[in-house]
Symmetry: C2
Subunit: 308 residues, 2 copies
């Protein structure tokens, strides 16, 4: 199985458009220790020819330009992108669909919750329903991802709920402290091929549970939510008013953080993705980057290629 | 008045994601005669400090990165972008709004028709209504564009209807051959400063009328719809089934084309924008590029700066 990181940053990307945090300023200045990053998304392929996008970030047009594996190959209209799998309805995970126009056949997969959000926003009809099918994912049910012609891509995803929060723009302020969040709002994916390769994709996770730890134990590869280094980082740095907990993200560091939670789970490759502009692990020369690497983690970057 | 071209291509950009037309292939290969272009948008400023976007293209995050005039300057959260003026609800003109998050104060201007489309698509609520005001434009009524704090930017726009067509994704197939198009669906802008500078912005126009010709006669600068070289170009090149007329765009060449229509109108600078991936004027070494330049036109490019 082939995996390409198209974007490694959290919502807004790195740097964020209106952010002058020292991290953003270093990226904007072209500091080689602080390479720019687009918003989180990966592409997956069983055969190295046809690709499935996991989430469609607002930066998708730029990501296609930057990754030649996604360029058209034969004929006047063509794309190796055969399907998109959506893990939630965050703007940074669905807005990129708007780039996939031009009557190109495509399958879009999401939970009923995510598909209902697309249905409620008619702008997504720019993906001509004659060519673009919307197909439901069901929690805990393996789904063989198909090409638009119905043939199997050889990749199967099994969606499962993880602790999280409904997308910001869908929060129901009248619904108490979980803002109307339901199980389907934050899903992660177990991804496998017919040949037996297998990995986990968890771009958002609010906390580790025993069941989740057991599920990912022994995996060959786990992509995990790397939004914040510490829970109060955005508040402390003066660029926001929300904690990681409020946003539905557990933090990398600390006793209840990700490094601690995944230690001892015997996972071969642990890779942070969906990294916020305030997180010091973005920068190559920080003690925090050194700490995650010493703990056996990798920090993903745009264009990172992995083989399984 | 300062004008910066953020994007010069039509919807989908140049190259388009799934297009293998020889023009797209040259851009993708990095041919210096065929520089890549993002989707059409310009930024305007009276003082060179605060900027107003005319349309918000899906490539806006990349356009901000590429144009340092739009980078934050002071404080931890900041943007020189104080307002966005929308000329219609095409995906390539509104999708970029989704990038302008992070609770940054901003004024968004559009006709009631365009604002009603934003209201009907809840995903645009990601622009927190506490910080982002949506303000109506009225045809033929000058509107002084304000900063979010209410102060005047010094730029005034006067929207006026031009021949056109409703956005593709809003077409009403039951409404006959104009698909339910109303006057407000395609507007152009007359743009002026308190100091007396003045230009016209017409990224889409289906045909020249006598009234339109008189309106723009003698202008210092006109940006004009440069979508297609000839009406049947996409059909002939095998990349589409629609003519320019069907899409609401007059063509550059021919007896009823743009070059002929604007000849003799005594316009100082005539600049093509919103150029489709099939149009040979995109490429520096084509006879068509030479022809438009010999006719006194310029072909805009990403990053082009103009002063008035």
């Amino acid at each position: 199985m082939h995996v390409r990181v198209l974007g490694s940053a959290a919502g807004g990307g790195y740097p964020q458009w209106n952010c002058n945090h020292p991290n953003s300023a270093r990226a904007r200045a072209g500091d080689p220790a602080a390479p720019r990053r687009t918003q989180s998304s990966i592409a997956v392929s069983a055969d190295g020819q046809d690709w499935i996008l996991f989430n469609a970030s607002p930066d998708l047009r730029q990501q296609i330009t930057d990754n030649d594996i996604l360029h058209p190959r034969t004929g006047l209209r063509d794309s190796p992108i055969k399907a998109v799998v959506l893990t939630n309805a965050d703007v940074d995970h669905v807005a990129g669909l708007l780039n996939l126009r031009e009557s190109q056949p495509l399958n879009v997969y999401g939970t009923q919750r995510v598909l209902s959000v697309l249905a409620a926003n008619s702008i997504f009809n720019v993906l001509n329903p004659e060519f673009v099918k919307r197909l439901p994912l069901t929690l805990e049910t393996p789904c063989a991802i198909a090409r638009p012609d119905g043939s199997a891509t050889g990749v199967t995803v099994t969606p499962f709920a993880v602790p999280g929060k409904v997308a910001l723009w869908l929060e129901d302020q009248s619904a108490g402290e979980n803002f109307g969040t339901v199980d389907e709002d934050t899903i992660a994916l177990e991804v496998g091929t017919d040949a037996g390769a297998r990995f986990f994709y968890l771009p958002a996770c609010a906390r580790m549970t025993e069941a989740l730890a057991e599920r990912i134990r022994g995996a060959a590869l786990v992509f995990f939510d790397g939004t914040l280094w510490r829970d109060d980082e955005m508040v402390r740095d003066g660029v926001g008013v929300k904690t990681g907990r409020r946003m539905g993200h557990m933090s990398v560091s600390g006793d209840d953080g990700t490094i601690a939670a995944l230690a001892g789970l015997d996972i071969r490759r642990k890779v942070f993705i969906h990294i916020n502009t305030t997180n010091p692990i973005l920068i190559a020369d920080t003690p925090e980057r050194r700490a995650v690497e010493e703990a056996g983690w990798e920090v993903s970057y745009d264009g990172m290629a992995l083989e399984l």
